[in-house]
Amino acid sequence: MRAGLLFALVALLYIATGVLQSWSLALTIFNMGLVSAIMALGVNIQWGYAGLFNVGVMGFVALGGLGAVLVGMPPVPDAWSAGGVRILAALAVGAAVLVAAVLAWTRMSRGWVRTLVTLAILVVGFYVYRAIFDPARDAIEAVNPAATGYLGGLGLPILLAWPVGALIAAGAAWLIGKTALGLRSDYLAIATLGIAEIIIAVLKNEDWLARGVKNVSGLPRPVPFEVDLQQDPDFLARIGSLDPVTASSIAVKLAYTALFLVVLALVLWLSQAALASPWGRMMRAIRDNETAAEAMGKNVVRRHLQVFVIGSAICGLAGAMMTTLDGQLTPGTYQPLRYTFLIWVMVIVGGSGNNWGAVLGGFLVWWLWTQVEPMGAFMMSVLTSPLPETSPLRLHLMDSVQYTRVLLMGVVLLLVLRFSPRGLVPEK
């Protein structure tokens, strides 16, 4: 009942945006709201079901975006012949070195010999890796650096990138979980925060992979281009007297909305089914009392790893969808405040442990995030009205209005934590 009302209220916010501003804008916000809702579901699975404190959401989202590039973009044959095989070999060597070091550490008996052997494997391995990797990288990056300078992708349909993005994120999450899970909650938080920064640093600097800060743009789209629609007689006949430019832009956005809605419905349905199943009950039992669950024979570490991988995969899925929607991967724009902590605000505000709550939080908080700026501008102009029009302080404050939304998110988070700690739609 309460949830239904709240959803109606949020729907009203979006409709009001459509009526008062423009439908095109309302749809843009709604599409990102759908993506945000999926990210919030991913975090909710980790935090709400299992109490895992993951603040590396940004990293998994970015990995999903990388998936979109690796699947959707056409391959660059020159770059592949220049150094493709060598770079793959280098990566294989790097992985083999790490595996060998871990094996040496776990298989050998304790003592200084083991430490020395492990260190030797790592040091020698690092130099071998760099010896193969560096020339291959330079060769690839030298291939037409202004347009490509990277290996490109597989040239497959972009929709395939969504599950692939999820898989890449899941793989990374498995590696991270293997090392960092089992740490105390705030250590896990710091560890995931660091991992996310490292993932972004890799995306920014490894030009051979996805062009780094030169960005990959012009990703293939799962929906038609606006320009093509405007010249399509079928489309023109169907819209009647509407302006073809506006109509085509709205049609494209609606197509994305439909695709995203299908994914959201699927993820939500699966999450709900999982939560209601014996597995979901077990997860909540582990969250509420690890020791008791362990005494009942549940493997807490394994279950944590499982849920960490699933949640991160969902974040990766959302990341791939977002990159598809943007049509480009821009590693420079990934900021923890926006892609990690904002998602956390969505989950906490919506109601941790409740999937519908996470979805509601996703839509509500995303709408606030995009729409607070105009409101902030109004507030600021009222606050600064005693100052003269040309006062430098007033101009400066009006300039920084965009940051009021960061401030507001903090206030919203603190208010919810204080007065409704279980969120707007509490867990049943």
């Binding site: 740490l183 600097n205 902590f341 400066h396």
Partner: protein, 335 residues
């Protein structure tokens, strides 16, 4: 002679910058570790607290400069810093009163307090950006060098120059004075002793009549002071940019955890461990190598890691310590 040149290059590019950066991280990590010891949660808002203190200091510095006050060769910011400290301490005390105290009374789980601190982080983040914007601010004035590279070369006749910047000397001196004062306070005064007692065993401390609210207030005051000093020193040495301060959270936490959360000595050791590892791994060793082994001419710069991967260094150290010695080098609070 070449050996001396190599040593000079090493000092110039690794030892001095590493020591200054280490001192800045150590001061930041001390704040984190104190809050952890007394309030028992990892304060995610610490980076933005540093940014806030630095912002106030910069504002006062600008005002002082506009009325023509200066410290001669020393940066004016040193004169403005006390104001920044007072403002930050007041802010933290107000935050504690309005936000954190409620959860303390409830005895909320540490992870809830961490999430609450994320809320505070958002607010401080917004406040700093609204007032000073996101741009880079350079606010160091006065003399730039104690010894400039050219003077050094002229004086010694060496090929390699050695520069010692004023900000680096100030960083080290201020850090030593601050840390000495902090340890004197923690070990020699009654209040400091009661803080350590509270950190070691809360119940026992309460039984012996230590007022918990008083301890908490002093902990925030110390954290605010340390955060502002660390922030101003970092800003003088490099420059002030809100996002950089947010990102400092990672090496600072790494330093505090590597040293052992809750252990002040550990925080200092951790700060230097992290700083020197970052600097040595991202330094291009070509220059030192040219003097030591002139016969070998490598094609690269002999840089182990690109500078952009410095986070990876703090992170790798952090994970290694957590796996092999979860309580940190100096036996902080158990994992």
């Amino acid at each position: 002679m070449d050996l001396v040149n190599a040593l000079v290059a090493l000092t110039n590019f690794v030892l001095i910058p590493g020591a200054a950066y280490g001192a800045q991280l150590a001061l930041g990590a001390l704040g984190v570790t104190l809050i952890y010891g007394i309030l028992r949660f990892s304060n995610f808002a610490h980076g933005d607290t540093m940014a806030f203190g630095t912002m106030v200091t910069i504002g006062v510095t600008w005002w002082l400069q506009s009325v023509g006050v200066s410290l001669g060769p020393l940066p004016t910011a040193l004169l403005a810093m006390p104001v920044g400290i007072v403002a930050t301490v007041l802010l933290l005390l107000a935050t504690d009163r309005v936000v954190y105290r409620f959860y303390r009374k409830q005895r909320a789980a540490p992870v809830i307090l961490v999430i609450v601190s994320i809320g505070v982080m958002f607010i401080l983040n917004g406040v700093v950006r609204i007032f000073i914007g996101t741009d880079n601010q350079v606010f160091a004035d006065g003399a730039r060098f104690v010894i400039s590279a050219r003077d050094f070369r002229d004086a010694t006749g060496l090929e390699e120059g050695l520069a010692l910047r004023v900000s680096q000397v100030i960083t080290l001196v201020t850090a030593i004075v601050t840390v000495a004062a902090l340890f004197w306070f923690l070990t020699k005064t009654r209040t400091g002793t009661s803080m350590r007692a509270y950190s070691d065993n809360e119940d026992l401390a309460l039984l012996s009549g230590i007022s918990p609210e008083r301890v908490v207030i002093i902990a925030w005051a110390l954290a605010g002071t340390l955060a502002t000093i660390a922030g101003v020193l970092y800003g003088l040495d490099k420059s002030f940019m809100p996002f950089t301060y947010f990102q400092l959270l990672l090496p600072i936490f790494a330093a505090a955890i590597v040293g052992g959360l809750g252990s002040p000595i550990g925080a200092i050791a951790g700060g230097f461990v992290i700083a020197f590892s970052e600097v040595t791994l991202t330094y291009a060793w070509l220059k030192v190598q040219e003097y030591l082994l002139p016969s070998w001419q490598p094609d690269g710069l002999l840089q182990l890691l690109a500078t952009e991967y410095k986070f990876a260094v703090s992170f790798a150290i952090l994970v290694t310590v957590l796996i092999f010695r979860p309580t940190g080098l100096f036996r902080g609070k158990s994992a």
